[in-house]
Symmetry: C2
Subunit: 153 residues, 2 copies
Amino acid sequence: MTETRWLNDEEQRSWRAFGLATRLLLDRLERDLQEAAGMPPTYYELLVLLSEAPDRTMRMSELARWTHSKPSRITHAISKLEQAGWVRRQHLASDRRGWLAVLTDEGLAALRAAAPRHLESVRTYLIDVLSPEQVSQLGDISETLLKRLLPDI
Amino acid sequence: MTETRWLNDEEQRSWRAFGLATRLLLDRLERDLQEAAGMPPTYYELLVLLSEAPDRTMRMSELARWTHSKPSRITHAISKLEQAGWVRRQHLASDRRGWLAVLTDEGLAALRAAAPRHLESVRTYLIDVLSPEQVSQLGDISETLLKRLLPDI
């Protein structure tokens, strides 16, 4: 068994503050979005992706890949969005096992109604609180973390 | 209605990378801790707090305050930890409505067994990936965010 390398004081300070800040921030954004639009952030993200896709249409497998989510998670989310009338599913013409998700007009309207308030939360609790320099540092730090995290999914 | 202030390119880059990186990182740490110790990070955090308290004992209301959690969340977590034999509850002598949570010997052993592996995950996916300068930047950024987030709980 290898020896445990404990965190030094500065690492400990950073990790504790980061752990608490991210938990509180994600809770806050989730609560605001739920109140403003009746949807959790993961659903919001799917609507954004679909709204930016050609014909507002993507394969379910693409949605999973782009959000780095398990396919089962996407299937579950899309059927909830379908129940809300915001997305409809259809078979791929070329492959009966493949499914497409299509953003409906109602889904686009729901997204457009939710966007300004979601953005306002992101500004209020993250972007506007930081200096432009810190915003850039946070972007660089996050991209560094993603390089380590992404191969492991 | 005020005008929507959209994010500029750099803010957008930072927010998108941060949102994805934190989701993947928290998922990863949670999965590792669940595998290593059969507990989610919120339970781990409670055991750490109790282990550092005098007589390994804290009032439930203190646990809620220290973790910035709703009392109902703490009550739920503590009864799960009680079922596992890691914590026991007892009435405050001075106030029959007040409850104390006490870390048991089994709870301390479970924490000591989990700690090295949890720390290893935090190192592998966060601390060791960043330069010492980035660790400090992330600490400062997180503390800035906490100043904004904490009054709102």
